[in-house]
Symmetry: D2
């Protein structure tokens, strides 16, 4: 009988056409972040059992735009960059499980299929969207500088509706680019049963970067607007108070995670 290879699908003898390669996965990119506070009850509504609200600042949310280049170990994607570059926007909250505080991505949109595939594996609930963030550039004719006064815009749309708009004005160097996305991630991974009886497989996993490099972080003023859509729920995390805006360039390696809990369907 045939033995097939490939990390996800389609699986073939060579494994060459799998939607995603085997980890580790490598990323270089720019992060534009707006952190704000919403009603903690709105965060709690997005934390299925067995998760609870984080003990401190439980209503804190980070909405993050990321402009990525990514690759696998042999870096072949970098020479055919349609397979390497993608953008994403994601909302992160914090939660608690067995006394430990985790970050958790509750909504995320990307613009490539391989990014959807990686999210499927990592528990990021990825849908397609269209997202744009101003890029810094050494020449200022049509670009901000990574410096005081640098102004960056960012937008998100899905299903032909605009969901979010942000403007961040850099003010000063910062120790961090926010705190909400600073913990290991706690994500549900779910696979519905083919016969319709709940989930065939469900677990709570944790993962984070295997290694991380970050440039100087910058903080500044931020303006953020969220818009309603019948097919999206980002606006349910309404903006009560902006904490701040951040910009940082980073390099990341990701290489798997660990199962925190196997979940019965009823628990979800």
């Amino acid at each position: 009988m045939t033995h097939t290879n490939g990390f996800l699908y389609p699986r073939t003898q060579s494994g060459a056409s799998s939607l995603i390669p085997s980890p580790p996965w490598f990323y270089s990119g720019d992060l534009l972040t707006v952190e704000y506070r919403t009603d903690p009850a709105k965060v709690k509504a997005l934390l299925p059992a067995p998760l609870e609200l984080a003990p401190e600042d439980p209503g804190a949310v980070a909405l993050i735009w990321a402009d990525w280049q990514s690759c696998s170990t042999d870096r072949h994607e970098l020479l055919d960059p349609v397979l390497s570059q993608y953008k994403e926007t994601f909302a992160v909250v914090r939660c608690s499980f067995q006394g430990v505080t985790y970050s958790r991505c509750v909504f995320i949109w990307v613009d490539k299929d391989f990014a959807i595939g990686r999210g499927l594996h990592q528990g990021y609930p990825k849908k397609l969207g269209s997202m744009w963030q101003t890029r810094p550039h050494p020449f200022a004719q049509a670009a901000p500088q990574i410096a005081p006064g640098g102004v960056f815009g960012a937008t998100l749309a899905a299903a032909d509706r605009r969901l979010a708009e942000a403007v961040v004005t850099l003010r000063e160097e910062s120790d961090t680019n926010g705190f909400v996305n600073g913990h290991p991630m706690a994500h549900h991974r779910v696979f519905p049963d083919i016969a319709g009886r709940g989930d065939a497989y469900a677990e709570l996993i944790s993962s984070g970067a295997k290694s991380f490099s970050g440039g100087q972080a910058w903080s500044g003023d931020a303006d953020l607007r969220l818009f309603e859509s019948p097919s999206e729920e980002l606006a349910s995390l309404s903006v009560d108070e902006v904490i701040g805006g951040y910009f940082r360039q980073v390099g990341v390696e990701w290489d798997g995670g660990t199962t925190l809990a196997h979940l019965s369907e009823a628990g979800l």
Copy 2:
């Protein structure tokens, strides 16, 4: 604790933003099919254990373009058709499991994220692509008729490379629009382990239409060309002999399937 809803992800209290709604799913669309024979060894290479080659005409392949409108039970997607319309191209072979012949989709490309989500559930190995097929129209100024001599073109691209081109010229009414895609589907559903130890979940499932309506099928001449790509393997199913081309308009309801076998990771 919070109980969340939603068929796939993201799961929320309302479930309104799940990438895909709960089945049943409904489809209306046009199918353009080219059937051909390749070396059965090339089909066998795409049939992981416990599948075997079909006993009759084991090298038969169907490459199918479909132009779909789809919706869930409440049909709300039809009023916001960015959520309803999608196109796909897929390669189907036949296989045998425990003495029964099944159809099996070995490669498939779609152009919407909800279609990827449905494929994840159904075991279709979906990636994003760009596919086009000539549409029939009552007015012939720029359209073929569903009639003898009607000529339909179709193309498929992924990752900015063209993968397939077909031309089908209708000749006569036909009892079927091919035989390769005529059995229940036997698909692997796989979910890699977060820690990298093979699959956390893997099964062989079977599913098919709960109900099906089909218009008059047409058969005719077909020309098909497949092109190499380093990130795709459709061309591995090289065209030895064209069987025929087909056109048919159909309506389908899909409402789940059944598990045929739970699979150990080693078996994949």
Copy 3:
């Protein structure tokens, strides 16, 4: 010296890569129309000299979604349908020039570059957008029928913002699919001067279909919502009173127009 060919650009010896081929151009497609009345002053604001408001019902507007297949004389585009199929949404008003009533497209969005090129020639002010309209289909699983009670949705977005949403419910057969788009078109064609001194070329032209075939038109109820965008002005034609919704399948041949007036830059 070299003589180059090609209707628009790039011009080469073969002319094979011109963005658009020479007319005549042929179209088969489905039109979904909502007609309504706005304040005539809002129409007048979009009628540059030498145009004036139409004498009757001067505030009437048609917002039309069209799902097209198109080709040139040799019909080669139909076999490579990425070059043939496109969608568009356009707003039409009426106007008067030298005592004759014309239709005039004041805003239009399309989803292909060749459609932009044709609009440049015909005076349609085309930008890229994303537009969707429900398709009828013989099988009702996920499609309306062209019949009483058939419900069609339509949406338009540009620059990642939704600009318009419509729902049309067919009620009965109709003599027409509206009256606003029923006259020859009067369009400005403008080409700004490379040195920045107004227009290098500007004219008012008229054109219409060289031949037209239309199926049975249907009329019905319509709901229409327009949304603001900083980069678009469709919402300036605010909806005061809906006249009706329409559906019709048509076939069209277009083969050029005539100059009505050469315009000085000051007149624009």
Copy 4:
């Protein structure tokens, strides 16, 4: 009567929705260039009268990938970057007119409508395409550095066919990023007659950057492959000998050009 504003179209009283704003236009971006030699007869075939081959190295071609951010004077596009960022790939040759050597863009593909609009004005023969070029990034996890050994890939597709692939490996600092695109541009601007009698307007114009800032240029090895397409003619400029590969970050201001010659239709 109404006076409308807007640089191109649609023209309205505010001018806010014009596809492109009035110049000057500002650009910040990264250029990846491959220069090579083809048979000069193939260049000559793309130089309509009154242009002639450049006297020196007449078969030299530059194929350039550019990753741009752009804006108008008020820089509003930078805060809504879907209106600001675009990519392009273009082929440049040199030519001679009245004893002066010019650069000339003979083929170009972009990925935004506003870029098509600007090309219409500047005489760049722009079509839509999909182009990707590897980005440098301060963190090397998934990015080359702008340094010896930095490897950059680039691809171009149009109409779902791949047209070009390049790989450039940086070797050393360079005085220039090539010589083919180093002259003022000589472009035809053509506007076909609405009645089909040749061009209503045609001229040869010249334009170049009003101001230019460039970072350190790098040169290196380059590999370039061009692919045939029935709807494109880039491959007609076949690669006989690669001259070199280049990378440079630049900032540019463009503010119009001058007419070199008014052209009769017969002369084109």
